[in-house]
Amino acid sequence: MLEAYVPILIFVFVATGFAIFTLIMSGLLHPERYNKVKLEPYECGIEPETDARDRYSIRYYLVAMLFVIFDVETVFMFPWAVIMDELALFGLIEMIVFLFILVVGYVYAWRKGALEWA
């Protein structure tokens, strides 16, 4: 019955235990010497200019929304791609019609300036 899950249980214990062990050990062993550079979010790389909790441009949401719509249409393309052989030309034409409708929407969004950044 439940024996099959024993390895998973052992894995969970080992993983949690290791994480706790390393945290405690490093807390005990490391020296505590702070300076200004060390307290920055990133010790190397580009220096942060402003606070990270800033407002995004409203444009970002518009593009994100358009992305969500056009991205999800792939769920219809995967099943089609899998049985493309069986559907043959009929499937291809159907998919072209489907994409045409999407393209009309895309062109509309484009021409109405939804993709302009500024």
């Binding site: 019955m1 439940l2 024996e3 099959a4 899950y5 409203i58 949401y61 929304m65 358009l66 969500v68 719509i69 991205d71 999800v72 249409e73 769920v75 219809f76 099943p79």
Partner: protein, 102 residues
């Protein structure tokens, strides 16, 4: 070996669905209410996938694919509506929706 039966899936989806319904009822932030609704739709997807497996045909999976697509379309439209609301009102708290009452 513990077998995962349709009942298990049903319990999971019922749990997800209840979390969604309770979220819609008690939360005041429109975005979080919307996330709870998405949770309800995903509970439906769990159900559909499980039943599809049980009956050994793909109808349920096709249904689930359409639910996913529609949920995405709704998300886009919903976020647009919420943005329009926010631009006028500077809040996404549902208690502030008080222009019209009775």
């Amino acid at each position: 070996m513990l077998e995962i039966t349709p009942t298990h899936y049903l319990v999971l989806s019922a749990g997800l669905f209840m979390i969604g319904v309770i979220g819609v009822m008690v939360r005041r932030n429109i975005i979080i209410i919307f996330m709870s609704i998405e949770l309800m739709l995903n509970a439906v997807n769990v159900n559909l996938a499980a039943f599809s497996q049980q009956w050994q045909h793909v109808t349920g999976q096709v249904f689930a694919v359409f639910v996913i697509a529609v949920a995405a379309a709704e998300a886009a439209v919903g976020l647009g509506i919420i943005l329009a609301f926010y631009r006028n009102k500077e809040t996404v708290n549902i208690d502030e929706m008080n222009v019209m009452r009775w």
